[in-house]
């Protein structure tokens, strides 16, 4: 039995400690916002925050998350009101939508570290997240908009 802290809640789970965090989230805890895309850390659909850092949950053993703070898309904000979530809606980014939770989770770390990212910064930070529908231009614009919202909120 292991204990995980996910989105500020504790869960006791009986699972092989080698299981990737992705599958524990999806199949043991029913948090399915974190997506399976490739299983080899190539597409970014499974990005979650482990103590605030973006990790690929498909290659992160659940044992690594024990005693740590895990945040998934479901816990990114209280009422879907993270600036990125608001900006994603404002720019109507999504097409199929499958990759977007991973995109937002990657972008959230960028925005925390860099309050005023350039397009180049965004491209560098987001190159690990594939969007098969090709919504990259809207993702870029949404991150810029979210950064602006975040700066205004701070004032």
């Amino acid at each position: 039995m292991i204990t995980l802290n996910i989105n500020k809640k504790n869960y006791n789970i009986d699972v092989d400690p080698n299981t990737p965090l992705l599958w524990v989230l999806r199949e043991h805890i029913n948090l399915v916002g974190t997506k399976f895309g490739c299983g080899v850390a190539q597409c970014g659909a499974c990005v979650v925050h482990l103590n605030g850092e973006a990790v690929r949950s498909c290659v992160t053993k659940v044992s690594r998350a024990v005693g740590q703070k895990v945040v998934t898309i479901e816990g990114l904000s209280e009422n879907e009101n993270h600036p990125l979530q608001k900006a994603w809606i404002e720019n109507d980014v999504s097409q199929c939508g499958y990759c977007q939770a991973g995109q937002i989770m990657s972008a959230a770390v960028l925005l925390r570290e860099n309050k005023n990212p350039t397009e180049q910064d965004i491209d560098n930070a987001m190159a690990g997240n594939i969007c098969r529908c090709g919504t990259y231009l809207r993702i870029r614009d949404a991150i810029l908009l979210a950064a602006e919202m975040q700066r205004k909120e701070k004032k």
Binding site: E27, L31, C133
Partner: protein, 753 residues
């Protein structure tokens, strides 16, 4: 919709799920926190009043619109209900949208593909909205005792001006539901639209960005097991024998068995394509346990040899094809292309006397273009849920064409179609692949065998190496010019595995006096099928690349050259069967010329390429602006012009075109699947290069031709012309013409040489 309305939508949504006791909305109970197996509370059964299959209204004036067509990112979940709301005069802010169940009687053809959603549903949905509005007006008129013609509607309200009476749609919904559905209602004038032609946000946007369960892989069911298929390592191989002793010792594993998909002589439907027929199935409790246990399988495979495939229906009626068993290799396929290209081929169209024209030509230009297999690589790997019981079955998952899969499914599990409930989840991409039903059949047969609810899951490797790919193609163009550099004849001859991409009656057919189109095919065991603008994607690429080179040889501007040809098609067409409208073709070229500043000197810093194409009923042209960046070609800007008739949801339509442009650049530059002895060489995204954000243009400027023509689709049409515009820009950038996709592979190999 604004945030506040979406919150209301969610509350309503929960409520509607509760009504599921009646069975009407059973399909959606799983969305609200996996309550499928939990008994739902009692709710008033008359809560929703149905006015046609597409509209349900509550007494408190919540209007639910049913989206009939599967959603895979083309945004029909928003745009189709917008059409209903328009004619219904519904207040869009108070509308709730729900994905409909599979019900071809109530909800029409329910097919996502061929960019057909708009075209197929435009009229039926307008009629449904107008009919329901009339039913509400009748109900109000009867209640108020006034003539129905004096009742007007606005934003989900009924009004009688003379008496000052008014009421909500909701107040009259129960009465309206008892009125027979009228036919032949007068529809609105286009200029009076106030929902359609106004941008509305994706109705599932909030669920997407908050990680709600929406997709097939998110689907849960009480007692659900997980299954995976161990498939042969190469096309042309099949399962011989296996030893599952070690696998069965692994934690969570329930069963390992051999399962045949189609028995000998089974007549496949046109979309029943499958890569492998003998399945080695591993069933267990969780996905990770099954993934791990697969590694312990000891399997021997053997060559499949030539096989017979029976197909019924489809374009060719009932056919029997011998599928060769050869273990294919990409380099050998390309050699075969040369061999077949030299042989006589099937004539597809002939105008004038092309042979004589070529004999008399002062100059002949001949170019050959090649393109590889492409994998769809939907972000959500293939999966499907099935629960096959003795007397009924429930299947649920991502699927483009439920109506096409149902007959085969019914035959395979031996249940009548009306005992099979197909639920369509949101799809994490489709691009054509999810029109094929094999993974539903696989899931259903597995469920039937193990007598339990099960979800079949493909890993990314399964998805990529066990696909129904875009065929590999080759096309040779020949042009004959006279001494004055006039185009006197055109010959196009193409082939592929297993089909060619020649559309003989499309532009530039009809513009050249002497024209010959021919096609040939090489049968193969590599499974292929629809991929975003099937056939058209390569037809457009080769044609537009050749026209660019031809314009240059003739000393003409590439846009002006196309416009000249189209002028001929309009004024004095060659032949009668020309499958395009020259005016609409010209209008997108003229619009892209204007909006891209084609002749402006300030754009000289870019290497520019242009292409235009008509397929799937819409016209699109692109101008690509390319630069060299870190030694690699980079598309920095794109200007697009489209004519898809009335644009239903403008911002979402722009999104589709932006996405198609990015997808097109990615596939033109990087896309390609290769084989060695039948084994797919690209197994995951570290080997199959996908376009990423840093390779996407900085700007895509989208423009629409404004008209009032009935709307057509945008999923496919913007994709094919990307290839030619990118290739032509690369020529301007490098001074070299490129003929082989993926273009960056050819670029890098030329640079190395």
């Amino acid at each position: 919709m604004e945030n506040i309305e979406n919150k209301q939508s969610r509350r309503t949504f929960m409520k509607s799920s509760t009504v599921a006791g009646g069975g009407l909305f059973l399909s959606f109970t799983w969305l609200s926190g996996f309550v499928t197996a939990v008994p739902v509370g009692e709710a008033p059964s008359g809560d929703w009043y149905e006015l046609t299959g597409y509209i349900k209204i509550t007494p408190d004036n919540i209007i639910k619109l049913i989206n009939p067509n599967p959603e895979f990112g083309q945004n029909v979940m928003t745009s189709l209900p917008m059409i209903v709301a328009e004619e219904l005069d519904a207040d869009w802010q108070k509308v709730v949208v729900e994905m409909g169940p599979h019900d071809n009687v109530k909800l029409g053809p329910q097919f996502t593909g061929g960019s057909n959603s708009m075209r197929m549903y435009w009229r039926p949905l307008r009629e449904a909205g107008a009919a329901a509005r009339q039913m509400l007006k009748e109900a109000a008129a009867q209640t108020w005792g006034v003539p129905v013609d004096e009742v007007t509607t606005k934003a989900s309200m009924l009004l009688h001006e003379k008496s000052g009476r008014s009421g909500t749609y909701g107040q009259f919904s129960s009465k309206a539901a008892t009125i027979p559905v009228p036919k032949g209602m007068k529809l609105k004038e286009v200029k009076s639209f106030n929902v359609v032609r106004n941008s509305k946000k994706n109705v599932e946007g909030e669920k997407i960005i908050s990680g709600k369960p929406l997709f097939g892989l998110d689907y849960k069911y009480e007692g659900m097991l997980i299954a995976m298929i161990e498939h042969p390592p190469a096309f042309g191989m099949k399962l011989k024998d296996f030893d599952a002793t070690e696998t069965l010792k692994m934690p969570g594993i329930k069963d390992v068995f051999r399962q045949t998909l189609y028995e000998d002589g089974f007549e496949q439907g046109g979309f029943d394509t499958r890569s492998f027929n003998e399945l080695l199935v591993v069933v267990g409790k969780t996905t990770w346990e099954v993934m791990n246990a697969r590694k312990k399988l000891k399997v021997t495979w053997e060559p499949i040899g030539d096989t017979l495939k029976n197909t019924m229906g489809g374009r060719n009626g009932k056919t029997e094809i011998t599928v060769p068993g050869e273990l294919e290799t990409t380099t050998k396929q390309l050699e075969k292309f040369k061999e077949y290209a030299a042989k006589p081929a099937q004539q597809l169209r002939r105008d004038g006397d092309p042979e004589t024209a070529f004999k008399n030509a002062a100059q002949v230009i001949e170019r050959t273009y090649n393109a590889p297999f492409l994998a769809h690589n939907c972000m959500e790997p293939m999966n499907f849920f099935a629960h096959v019981m003795d007397d009924k079955a429930i299947v649920a998952g991502p699927l483009q064409a439920p109506g096409w899969s149902e007959p085969t499914l019914a035959k395979l599990i031996n249940l009548p179609a009306d005992k099979i409930e197909i639920q369509m989840t949101r799809m994490g991409g489709g691009f054509g692949l999810r029109a094929y039903g094999h993974y539903i059949y696989e899931a259903a047969l597995i469920s039937k065998r193990i007598k339990a609810p099960v979800k079949l899951v493909y890993t990314r490797e399964d998805d990529m190496t066990y696909g129904i790919y875009r065929p590999t193609y080759t096309t040779t163009y020949r042009a004959a010019l006279d001494a004055n550099k006039n185009l006197i004849a055109l010959h196009v001859k193409g082939g592929g595995i297993p089909e060619h991409a020649i559309h003989a009656n499309r532009f530039p057919a009809g513009t050249i006096d002497n024209y010959l189109a021919e096609g040939w095919r090489i049968p193969s065991n590599i499974t292929t099928g629809a991929f975003r603008a099937p056939g058209s994607n390569f037809a457009a690429a080769s044609e537009q690349m050749f026209l660019d080179e031809l314009a240059e040889a003739m000393g003409k501007d590439p846009i002006d050259f196309r416009l000249e040809l189209l002028k001929r098609a309009k004024e004095n067409p060659v032949g009668r069967n020309n499958e395009y409208n020259a005016d609409r073709y010209m209008s997108v070229l003229q619009l892209v010329k204007e909006k891209s500043g084609w002749n402006n000197s300030e754009n000289k810093k870019y290497s520019r390429g242009v292409a235009a194409y008509f397929c799937h009923n819409s016209y699109v042209a692109h101008v690509v602006d390319m630069v060299m960046r870190d030694g690699q070609p980079y598309v920095e800007r794109v200007t697009s012009a489209a004519d898809c008739g009335i644009v239903i949801n403008p911002d979402a339509a722009i999104n589709m075109i932006e996405g198609a442009v990015v997808d097109g650049i990615g596939n033109a530059f990087y896309g390609g699947l290769t084989m060695v002895n039948g084994e797919v060489q690209q197994k995951n995204f570290h080997q199959y290069r996908m376009i990423r954000i840093n390779e996407a243009p900085k700007k895509i400027d989208v423009h629409f031709v404004q008209n009032e023509i009935d709307p057509t689709g945008l999923g496919e049409p913007p994709f094919p012309p990307v290839f030619g515009s990118v290739a032509s820009a690369m020529y301007k950038l490098t001074g070299k013409r490129f003929y082989n996709f993926p273009l960056i592979k050819e670029f890098n190999s030329l640079n190395k040489a």
